[in-house]
Symmetry: C2
Subunit: 142 residues, 2 copies
């Protein structure tokens, strides 16, 4: 039953992608659970640049997920009680995808323009507790 379910999900998601746009279908990734990179970025920004920083980050993360097959997720948030505390959940298909991400024009633009805004940056390697849960996440958001 589970295999049938997964096959159906695969088929229908693949079908969705190919219907939506060429870009989206080209954007599919073959990932191997053992190679996936999951990371939390903890970024403290200068209070003078909150709005400006968020606009740049939003643009950069949107472009990364849209244009890079190996960028599975960049999910940017800030702490409600302290908007200078930024957190990102980042998921890359593998290390090569991450290294290639660092060379993209949109990432370089983000890095250069926000350099003066970032007070501290901590990158924490994470491990997903339930790899199988990943495709289910956000499935409910149409």
């Amino acid at each position: 039953m589970k295999i049938l379910k997964n096959s159906l999900v695969f088929l229908l998601v693949a079908q969705s992608a190919s219907c939506i746009s060429q870009e989206a279908s080209q954007n599919k990734t073959n990932f191997h659970p053992g190679e996936i990179m999951v990371r939390m970025a903890e970024i403290k920004i200068d209070a003078n640049y909150v709005a400006e920083y968020m606009a740049i980050l939003r643009e950069e993360s949107e472009a990364s997920v849209r244009l890079e097959p190996g960028v599975i997720c960049i999910y940017p948030m800030f702490q409600k009680d302290n908007p200078t505390e930024i957190r990102l959940l980042e998921i890359y298909a593998d290390e090569a995808s991450y290294k290639s991400h660092l060379q993209t024009p949109h990432f370089k633009h983000y890095k250069e323009t926000t350099l003066k805004m970032v007070e501290s940056l901590k990158l924490i390697d994470m491990e997903a507790i339930d790899m199988e849960a990943m495709p289910r996440i956000f499935k409910k958001l149409n």
Copy 2:
């Protein structure tokens, strides 16, 4: 083009859901971006219970996303260099969904069985920087 894209995504995702199982299609959520609850949970657990705790958490988060329409995401991770440091990205459709989650048998079971394993718990309210990015996340994982 964007509206067309969204409509296609909606139609195909709805179709996927109804093909997979009744459970999944019943599980669809109407959410309003303004009401959504995003949260990071930072949990420090007793080093003697790492494997046991993760197995219980995995079961609880899987059941929550599968059974509760208002639980959009519970994504559990641990820090690679320090597996006693657990992090969860939690997304609920609204506050009512969160309150109802606290009353479910699977959450109560998790809470009771892990009580002795948890050394500290911090719940941090977050705001997503790009609400529109949410449906795109994990789309690449089939």
